[in-house]
């Protein structure tokens, strides 16, 4: 019951997915050949064992042979990245039908991903989704992983989301989206793709967790000692955050146990569904055990801008909702003390109309890291999800870049050639302007 289906779209989505399932397998003790590690089922009397079994179910499907297959779908319009999974370490984890690739890619073009090339693949994708959904006793909803800037990630996702709403109208859909950053981008038209996809997807998503590549790049560079962070390093960090966010879905936990709880806890209005994520502690593997991070240390840290995954300044905005999820060796006494002691909490401002404040939960399952990665293993970690009006900064930046190019109609012909019209651009831009205004409005006092 309560299964979650993950759909990974485009290069970003797939690479994050690869890292993600690797981490999940590590956490649940599943070997690359889908079999559970014996060590987890040893002589230790541990009531948590029952919980472990139950949690497999949400994300993994147990076959008759005793293998645990991820409930996931990997979709791309060109084969290179998916071939990496087909021939990679985890190839035996997935069923071949879960890895879908087309022949011609979207070339960083929303129009191709959505209209021309995407429309050829969509039916197959929906069919596979149906198959996976049938294996579920009570499907909760979908987790979509994609980037804003790519062609498949933007265009194909919009198409897919529309169709998913049509077929599974009652199911929750959460997104993990990679917000474009100039330092790691290869495409100039990312602002176009981002604006277009946000416009068409907003009404179909219930909650979107944005990850700004720029912020993560800085974290990798400064805190983890990575000289030139590549996608691999960035993804490993992103995946730690994803794991924290989905921890309660996979292990018995108190907070955000259902996909729908994310909505009820974090989203006050349907359009205002972009929470900001912060994560602590982030320690380089070379400095393991050099410093100890207590509960109060990590609580203070997650209010710092250097631990945020989206570049914005929450002090300039107001909070509408916030969840703090502790993970690992954390004791309730210490949490209370830590929160009471956090000086940063005085700079937190809530909107007037919101009665509830922070929600705090603890999940005792320890955070794990991938061996050979950049992060050190820590005893405890914290993930803060906050819906703050300050995130409108990210939209403002994107809209500005969009305007600069659109004013000159630069690169527009690539989209028009695939059958799009300028009107769609204008509509999308209008929508985002309205989103910015919405954020402003909710932040205002009575």
């Amino acid at each position: 019951m309560r299964e979650c289906l993950s759909i990974h779209i485009g290069q970003a989505g797939i690479q994050i997915g690869d890292a993600c399932w690797e981490l999940y397998c590590l956490e649940h003790g599943i070997q690359p050949n889908s079999v559970v590690l014996d060590r987890q089922q040893d002589q230790l009397e541990n009531a948590k064992m029952e919980h472990t079994n139950a949690s497999f179910d949400t994300f993994f499907c147990e076959t008759r042979a005793g293998k645990h297959v991820p409930r996931a779908l990997f979709v791309d319009l060109e084969p290179t990245v998916i071939d990496g999974i087909r021939t990679g370490q985890h190839r035996s984890l997935f069923h071949p039908e879960q890895l879908l690739s087309g022949k011609e890619d979207a070339a960083n073009n929303y129009a191709r991903g959505r209209y021309s090339v995407g429309s050829e693949v969509i039916d197959l994708v929906l069919e596979r989704t149906r198959k996976l959904a049938e294996q579920c006793g009570g499907l909760q909803g979908f987790l979509i992983f994609r980037s804003f800037g790519g062609g498949t990630g933007s265009g194909f996702t919009s198409l897919l989301m529309e169709r998913l709403t049509g077929e599974y109208s009652r199911k929750t859909k959460l997104e993990f989206s990679v917000y474009p950053a100039p330092r790691i981008s290869t495409a100039v038209v990312e602002p176009y793709n981002s604006v277009l996809t946000t416009h068409s997807t907003t009404e179909h998503t219930d909650c979107t967790f944005m990850v700004d590549n720029e912020a993560v790049y800085d974290i990798c560079h400064r805190k983890l000692g990575v000289e030139c962070p590549s996608h691999a390093s960035i993804n490993r960090l992103v995946v730690q955050v994803v794991s924290s966010i989905t921890a309660s879905l996979r292990f018995e936990g108190p907070l955000n146990v259902d996909l729908i709880e994310f909505q009820t806890n974090l989203v006050p209005y349907p359009r205002i569904h972009f929470p900001m994520t912060a994560f602590a502690p982030i320690v380089s593997a070379d400095k393991a055990y050099h410093e100890q991070f207590s509960v109060s240390d990590i609580t203070t840290a997650c209010f710092e801008s250097s631990n945020q995954l989206v570049k914005c300044n929450p002090r300039l905005g107001k909070y509408m909702a916030c969840c703090l999820l502790y993970r690992g060796d954390v004791v309730p006494k210490e949490v209370n003390a830590a929160i009471a002691a956090t000086k940063s909490r005085h700079s937190v401002q809530f909107v007037d109309w919101c009665p509830t404040g922070f929600k705090v939960g603890i999940n005792n399952w320890p955070p794990m890291v991938m061996p050979g990665g950049d992060l050190a293993k820590v005893h405890r970690s914290i993930c803060m999800l906050s819906n703050t009006t300050a995130i409108v900064e990210a939209w403002a930046r994107l809209d500005h870049k969009f305007d600069l190019m659109y004013a000159k109609r630069a690169f527009l012909h690539w989209y028009l050639r695939e059958g799009m019209e300028e009107a769609e651009f204008l509509e999308a831009r209008e929508d985002l302007a309205a989103l910015e205004r919405d954020y402003e409005e909710v932040g205002q006092s009575f």
Binding site: D286, G328, R345, G357
Partner: protein, 578 residues
């Protein structure tokens, strides 16, 4: 907690208002009545004196303000392990505090804790606890025998850092009872290692041992253990698992030691190592910030260690590393912030692999004093090295040099796959190696390099400085001459032609030398000359001759063409007639 001031209180670790100290004296301090404890604080500035009062020396401290006298009842001697666990993890049954919930607010809104009750219930089941952290919980002893084993036998990881454990024995008493213990962290405890006793159990499941900042120094070890007799035994038991860590003993190798009395020391070191049954499965050992000085080669201990962290130990130098160079399984060595500036593997010649550090895959040398490129040439000799982190060294510090530094490091170490946590892609390696080959091409030629292998005779000096150069030549071909031509910077003065000006008909005129740009037109040259010679332009006839082709004179008849057009070169001679 102890009100009986018996002699065994000396050496105990205590805590007073958050500050940790070691008891050095117990007794009476006249003229004030009553019992006193003399303590030496961890923080050298916390105290009031150095152990002496009104002339009498009661105990010794390292610092003049390191000691204080305190009443015993003000001092916390700590608690036992089991009590500490219960304090932290067990739901208090007492009615007073937990029912009265203090509402904490953030941003004027209440903080709602969800599910804490069930968490507390879960954690209260001590027997199910696997990962336990008792940092800064004033743990000073194991408690009653077998208590720990009965209450929480399934603990796999325990963090006992910054507690009041005063001796290694106590640590063993705790750890011994935990059959499944895999990770033990006793950092930031000032541990004392008693002499004599044989330990009762081995920590057979222990994989990771963390002893950062246990701060044992040479002098302290000396003093605490009452002189040279047992100076080393402090490690005797620790050495079961740790060995190398805090030994700053003399050794038979060529280290420089500032030891006071090392003759008796080294006998004990040998004993120590022999006694060390070793933790059979120890894989990771962390010894950061201990002022460690490696003094002896581990022969049958540490043989399974995969990771060794020696960061922030300023006394380490490269000579000591030879002593750990033969650990068979050592894959990761962390030497950040140790002041290392060079490494040498004398057993391997140029282009050969050393027998030292046979399994070393990942080396971390951040924050050191590396300033010579030869460092990387030595690293090339390591047989298994795959990854290197070398940030914040004098050689790689400046930003603009960082990119060049990266390419040079990649080219110097052929098998390196990851540098500074960034994977080296094949294209990057190719670019780096080609750059290297070109950059040192001129040097190579000057040192006797030649395309033709027969004629290739490189100097020893060059081979030492660039051991991979030959290999690069084989891989990409010897550098061609045209590749090596250094580009003259495009400054004007490099484009001027130095020309002599002769006047064949006027023999008494001196030969002038002028610098003219090659792009100057003949007309302009004539103009210049006419102003010089006071001869009208129309009367001048120009030609030039080149020392390369003597006797041949070339006429410069087209006024609109430039000197370059006529291929006038540096050193040629202009002939002017009128």
């Amino acid at each position: 907690m102890s009100d009986t001031l018996t002699a065994d209180v000396i050496g105990r670790r205590v805590e007073v208002n958050g500050e940790h100290a070691t008891v050095r004296f117990a007794g009476v301090v006249p003229p004030v009545a009553g019992p006193w404890l003399g303590v030496e604080w961890d923080n050298p500035e916390r105290g009031k004196h150095d152990g002496s009062h009104e002339g009498t020396v009661y105990f010794k401290c390292r610092h003049p303000t390191g000691g204080s006298f305190i009443r015993p009842n003000k001092v916390n001697f700590g608690t036992d392990f089991l009590t500490a666990i219960k304090n932290r993890y067990v739901l208090e049954d007492g009615p007073e505090e937990d029912r009265k919930e203090q509402i904490v607010t953030i941003g004027n809104k209440p903080v709602e804790t969800i599910g804490f009750d069930s968490i507390m219930k879960q954690q209260s089941q001590l027997s199910k606890l696997q990962e336990v952290s008792l940092r800064n919980c004033a743990v000073s002893c194991a408690g009653e025998k077998g208590g720990v084993a009965e209450a929480c036998p399934n603990i796999r990881k325990v963090d006992l850092s910054k507690n009041l454990l005063s001796s290694w024995d106590e640590v063993i008493h705790i750890a011994d009872q935990l059959r499944h213990l895999e990770v033990l962290n006793v950092s930031e405890n000032k541990l004392k290692f008693p002499s004599g006793s044989v330990l009762t159990g081995t920590l057979s499941a222990l994989k990771v041992l963390v002893l950062n900042q246990t701060g044992i120094t040479w002098a302290e070890a000396h003093a605490q253990c009452g002189g040279s007799r047992h100076g080393l035994d402090m490690q005797k038991d620790a050495s079961k698992f740790v060995d190398l860590c805090v030994l700053q003993k003399c050794s038979t190798s060529n280290c420089i030691i500032s030891a006071k009395d090392h003759t008796s020391m080294w006998m004990n070191v040998a004993k120590v190592l022999r006694c060390a049954a070793g933790c059979p499965g120890l894989e990771e050992l962390y010894l950061e910030s201990n002022n460690i000085f490696i003094s002896e080669r581990p022969t049958d201990v540490l043989q399974t260690v995969k990771l060794l962290d020696l960061s922030s130990n300023q006394l380490i130098d490269e000579n000591q590393l030879y002593l750990i160079a033969h650990l068979p399984r050592l894959e990761q060595l962390i030497l950040s912030d140790t002041g290392i500036s060079s490494l040498h593997f004398p057993d391997a010649g140029i282009g050969c692999k050393t027998s030292m550090f046979p399994s070393l895959k990942y080396l971390v040398v951040n924050d050191n004093q590396i300033s010579q490129w030869s460092f990387f040439n030595e690293l090339e000799k390591l047989p298994s090295l795959q990854a290197l982190s070398c940030l914040r060294n004098p050689l790689t510090k400046e930003d603009k040099e960082a990119e060049t530094a990266r390419l040079l490091i990649i080219a110097s170490i052929g098998q390196l796959k990851t540098l500074n946590k960034c994977e080296i892609l094949p294209e990057e390696r190719r670019r780096a190696e080609l750059d290297y080959r070109k950059a040192f091409g001129n040097e190579w030629k000057q040192a006797g390099g030649h395309k033709d292998p027969e004629k290739n005779r490189l100097s020893e000096e060059f081979l030492t400085a660039h051991p991979r150069y030959q290999f690069l030549c084989l891989k990409y071909g010897a550098p061609e001459d045209w590749e090596l031509k250094t580009q003259q910077p495009l400054m004007l003065k490099n484009q001027l032609l130095t020309l002599k000006i002769k006047y064949p008909h006027q023999l008494d005129q001196k030969v002038l030398e002028k610098q003219l740009p090659g792009s100057m037109t003949i007309q302009k040259v004539k103009g210049l000359l006419s102003r010089l010679l006071k001869v009208p332009v129309s009367d001048l006839l120009l030609s030039y001759e080149s020392p390369k082709k003597p006797g041949r004179e070339i006429e410069l008849e087209n006024d609109l063409k430039s000197l370059q057009f006529y291929s006038v070169e540096n050193g040629d001679c202009l002939l002017v007639r009128w």
